[in-house]
Symmetry: C2
């Protein structure tokens, strides 16, 4: 039996950052990380690897670079059971005794029980093997069906889109990206993708796959029979909670239940990243937050608590950005719809501006929407669509404003910079304009 | 004699935004704007117009679009004297009686008394006429001397640089851009420009110009005699204070003295923009802040006070960005040097990251330096150099953090977003890394 101070199950960003942080703060602690496969795949880059923009081998970092070079002990194995009272994890090949355990078991693509889903050329996108298999099949594929119009669905659709391919997105809900954006922003995304030649079917679900060995048609709830050479199921992910659940650890609505210190219902066992339930900063309610940046932050919080520093996580505002067709879209906090569902009376500020001075070439519209609580004018959320330049950092700025409970007045007073190639005109910063519009 | 409720002298961003804001809030007030020439030139775009990246005619907006369409009464004329007790401005052609007066007289390029400075092909860059004259002379120019290595100097040098031209920057101080950046960042700028083939002479001043009608050589303090077809004097600007001064209005160290309401020493006379002295938010001391974004904000503050809303301006942190050689550099708050000069004990956080995921093509280094007060870890300033993408909005985020008196801990807890093409890797946001480095 192996012994370690801290045992981490999972080698995604959560597990790695937890290990690194502990080794950095307390180099003498023995930290062991167990994961199933060699190499660290950068999941967000997979759509780009599919499209050949990045070489698939470049998005897999070596375990040495990412893990072992920092003094973490790496074990390629699979955790099967936690014996909570004994502080032991049983793996396929061994037993490991721990003082503290970190569950960073991640998530896996959700695959609904659609008849025919086992056929060839029906894929999910998660592992580097998925990337390689899809790339292989793409060589001869003309008709590509993407089931699910979330952030990954629209990125893959946009990246794979070319004149030789016919791409269709099938979305169950009335709009694309509607979990993260309001209808008006979803419509902008739909218009851009449609204009690029991508077919969008909303309010429609997949009822079955036809074909023999290989998929040939997709059958939909609207009785369509769509030719398909490749189907990509991009319906979201589900937390990997089986190990925790089967060992008696409490499960929440959206993954393993944790407190503000990332502790599970068992005091010396922590859960972080995609497998753990997050808490929304604004509403205080459980929320899914399967973002790498959430994983990284939760990992740091868990690590600090493990080494004895009481650090609380005050919750997520889920800042996220996606790129498609030379545009980017970003969001943070609550959407208008989510704010209303959570009982907020709101006022919405809007503005349109440009990513650089309007008189310069290659300017691109920036459209922004800010959601404020009506009475206090406290900012609750924001959405931006524009050229790629500037979206992510504006979302970060809004994230900071939300977490610091700033108001429209605070944002209207932003002391911003201006430059003809790098920002809008000096009087046209969209965050300021949208904030002023509600004062 | 003409009569008006509010008289604005000057048609730059300060004057225009003051007028627009007043008309928007109180459309019935009569607002009259006096300026010398037709058209509104976007000054920051002038380097791009010199280089032909923007057509010079596209950086001059019409008075109709910018001014008169909003109900402001425009007078093309020149203010000569203010009769303070009578509330009258004497112009070249007329007299205008006002209830409130706004001085937005701007600034003009500083030209030191160097022998020979009257020769042809020695230019400053401020008006659209300057742009046209320089462009005309550029056609045949091979040797271009830029005197002054500030933000405009380096941008113009970089934009005009091509294989046919020999460009030299002459800077009096030991480093380029040293008013706004610390030495380490200045050195990066110098290295990039040198690598691009631009000659940089620091610790050197211009002692004279040789030539007949037209400039032919520049003589320097180090006894150099440098061939020159064009000389651009880019040594900074000086506030236009003559009108205020000659009328008995108090002048500060860096322009017309104003209080926190942008009021001058005369109660119903306001001063805004490049002609007015600004107050540094952190030190509370007078500071030059000749930025269009400062002008816009001061204009809004003056406008609100003019219509009867007591709004205070809490001072500038001077966020600014410059672009050169496909890079951008940005700064906000105090530099390390300025912080020390102002008596702060400081600690500096540094980080290097990339503008996108390190495994993606066309990544570019992001280098950041954050200056914190040692004891409180309150952020005092920041400097960033990187590819163009993301610099301006990170500077804005830091600006917000400085004005909200945030600490390194607050910034280390930033809930940021990640995307392979739009941000660094999920664990590599440079603001967070630099903040963590001082915790």
């Amino acid at each position: 039996m192996k012994k370690t101070d801290v045992l981490i199950i999972g080698g995604g960003p959560a597990g790695i950052v937890a290990g690194l942080t502990i080794k950095k703060m307390k180099p003498k602690l023995k930290v062991t990380l167990v994961k199933k496969e060699k190499g660290v795949t950068i999941l967000c880059s997979e759509p780009y690897a599919l499209a050949g923009i990045v070489n698939p081998k470049d998005i897999v970092f070596s375990d040495k670079k990412m893990i072992t070079s920092t003094g973490i002990d790496l074990v390629i194995d699979e955790a099967k059971k936690i014996e909570i009272k004994k502080n032991i994890v049983l793996t396929k090949k061994n037993k490991i005794k721990f003082k503290k355990l970190v569950l960073a078991t991640g998530a896996r693509p959700f695959v609904p029980p659609i008849p025919g889903k086992e056929m060839k050329n029906i894929f999910t996108l998660r592992t580097i093997k998925d990337v390689k298999n899809i790339r292989q099949s793409l060589k001869k594929a003309k008709n590509i069906i993407i089931v699910g119009g979330g952030a990954i669905g629209i990125e893959v659709a946009s990246l794979l889109n070319n004149k030789k391919r016919k791409i269709t997105i099938i979305e169950l809900l009335p709009h694309l990206v509607s979990g993260a954006y309001d209808e008006d922003f979803s419509q902008d995304v739909e218009n851009v993708l449609s204009d690029a030649g991508i077919k969008i079917l909303t309010n429609e679900s997949v009822k079955g796959f036809l074909g023999e060995n290989k998929v040939k048609y997709v059958l939909t709830s609207k009785k369509r029979k769509i030719p398909a050479d490749i189907v990509l199921l991009s319906i979201g992910v589900r937390s990997n909670i089986d190990l925790a659940k089967s060992s008696g650890i409490k499960i929440g609505k959206f993954g393993i239940w944790v407190n503000k210190y990332q502790q599970t219902s068992v005091k010396n066992i922590y859960a972080i990243g995609d497998c753990a339930q997050a808490i929304d900063f604004i509403t205080g309610k459980p929320t899914p937050s399967q973002l790498a940046t959430t994983a990284v932050f939760q990992a740091k919080v868990a690590a600090m608590n493990i080494i004895g520093k009481k650090v609380k996580y005050d919750g997520v505002v889920n800042p996220a950005v996606s790129a498609f067709e030379c545009l980017a879209i970003g969001r943070v906090g609550l959407t208008e719809k989510q704010a209303k569902e959570n009982g907020f009376k709101i006022i919405v500020g809007r503005a349109e501006s440009y990513n650089r001075y309007a008189c310069h070439p290659n300017t691109c519209l920036v459209k922004i929407k800010l959601i404020f609580e009506k009475k206090t004018k406290r900012i609750l959320g924001g959405q931006i669509i524009s050229g790629e330049h500037g979206v992510a950092q504006r979302i970060n700025l809004l994230s900071l404003a939300i977490k610091k409970k700033m108001t429209a007045g605070n944002l209207a007073n932003l002391n911003y910079c201006a430059h003809p190639e790098l920002t809008p005109l000096p009087f046209a910063e969209p965050i300021v304009m949208a904030s002023e519009s509600v004062l």
